[in-house]
Subunit: 275 residues, 2 copies
């Protein structure tokens, strides 16, 4: 692991690091915010998964997470959204290939062997953080994300409850098996629909559920509502009796101005759950 | 004036606008954050001047100003840092020409007639805001900024106390007449040093002063300390008995991670002064 940069922020440290990823077969960049409380003890951690076209940097720079994380003494990890590099497969579309890993392990050419974002997050980066940041207590991990990253947070948490203890999402893709944000990418990465497995949050509520409250915020002026299919998640939670607070926020859109507005609430939620 | 975008943020509106500037002789872009309090009454306003290479967008996206502005019910205006366009004079250096207007009115070729950022901010944009945003009470204006924008805030406030009622700066260029961040640009824009006039914050403390407290935060790990010359401002305030709180912040650098950390304090300071 190599340090790219470290900046003091709200009396903690915002760092950017690279490492040679085995899961993705390339160098991967990620960011870690360590609050000041990590100087004197172990802190819980929020894993933040970003959306289409993003790198580790977008939320790190624009989500306003550090102020709230400093207040609550929680670390935040910002992984990249896919493998990257000139030798890595890609697509001209913004929503497939580099910047669009969808948090699954690809089985189809040309995406295998690099596109393994599920294994990358849940196994490799989890282990790397535990090894290199002893101040971070990975046994107290929360997960959240935005849009494609909200899909990642919901699906990774419900399929890996042994790793994640608190779950929220902003503007998540809620039903990718029924959306053009999902069918195209899962078909490309995983092939026939019979192989898509546990990659749909609304279906996972029915089959797996979540042993706690799921917190979701969604702007009602989001131009991508048809692709996100928020109602499918609302319906699934209602049908299963899943505890969830899914709030439609009047006037808010899909941008980081929306994310930054409700980030303090989500970080407070996770900090309380990880206490 | 045309609207480029408007996003709801912390229950207020973050807008971006363009207009045909007479002062700069080109289209100019600026951003305005209007807090929710502007829906029901007039709000005071903070003018934020950005640093070298920045546009209106950098602080708007990275400084975390909206959360604090929403809490205190204060609008924030983010102007651009220079005229821009293919037909506008420029220089290969990052610190001269487009993105580096230094908040002065140029008298020298090739910078005249476009580089008139002092007149643009203090006269033209001030008037445009008053005309187009009746919710903003420009008689309760504060001013702040970062680096070159800190220089702009200090010099515009001390030379225009009729416009600005509260003054702060982050990592300001404090003594441009004695720095390579200043001598080069003022020479280019204004010619011989005898024409530089009221463009040095440390000298202005002696000649004009400020009828209130000046709030300045500066990182002590800032790699540009030699160019900023913070000590010159500290010495000038001490010699004049100017009320000022100039704090060296341990470990902080020149980045927006530093700015975002102390933005809540500065916005609280301005809101209290403008009450």
């Amino acid at each position: 692991m190599e340090t790219v940069s470290e900046n003091i922020c709200f009396d903690g440290t915002q760092g950017v690091y690279t490492h040679d990823s085995k899961a993705c077969g390339c160098d991967m960049t990620f960011a870690v915010y360590l609050p000041a409380q990590a100087k004197t003890g172990k802190v819980p951690v929020l894993w933040w998964l970003s959306g289409l076209t993003c790198t580790h940097a977008n939320a790190m720079e624009k989500a306003g997470a550090q102020r709230a994380a400093a207040e609550h003494g929680i670390a935040v990890i910002f992984p990249d959204t896919s493998p990257r590099g000139e030798s890595i497969a890609n697509d001209d579309a913004y929503d497939l290939g580099q910047g669009a890993g969808f948090y699954v392990d690809a089985t189809q050419a040309p995406w295998t062997p690099h596109f393994n974002m599920r294994t990358y997050i849940v196994d490799e980066l989890f282990g790397l953080i535990a090894q290199n940041f002893p101040q971070i207590d990975t046994t107290r991990s929360a997960i959240s994300g935005h849009s494609m990253g909200g899909h990642g947070a919901l699906t990774l948490a419900m399929t890996h409850p042994e790793k994640f203890k608190s779950l929220s999402a902003f503007s998540p893709i809620c039903h990718p098996h029924g959306s053009d944000w999902g069918r195209k990418q899962l078909g490309a990465y995983l092939g026939d629909e019979s192989n898509w497995g546990d990659t749909d949050a609304s279906k996972l509520v029915a089959t797996h559920g979540w042993t706690g409250e799921i917190l979701v915020d969604q702007g009602d002026a989001d131009t991508f509502l048809d692709l996100l299919k928020t109602q499918a998640l609302i319906d699934a939670c209602a049908a299963k009796g899943q505890k969830a607070t899914i709030t439609m926020r009047a006037g808010y859109d899909h941008s980081y101005y929306f994310v930054s507005t409700f980030m303090p609430d989500h970080i407070a939620f996770h900090a309380a759950n990880l206490k």
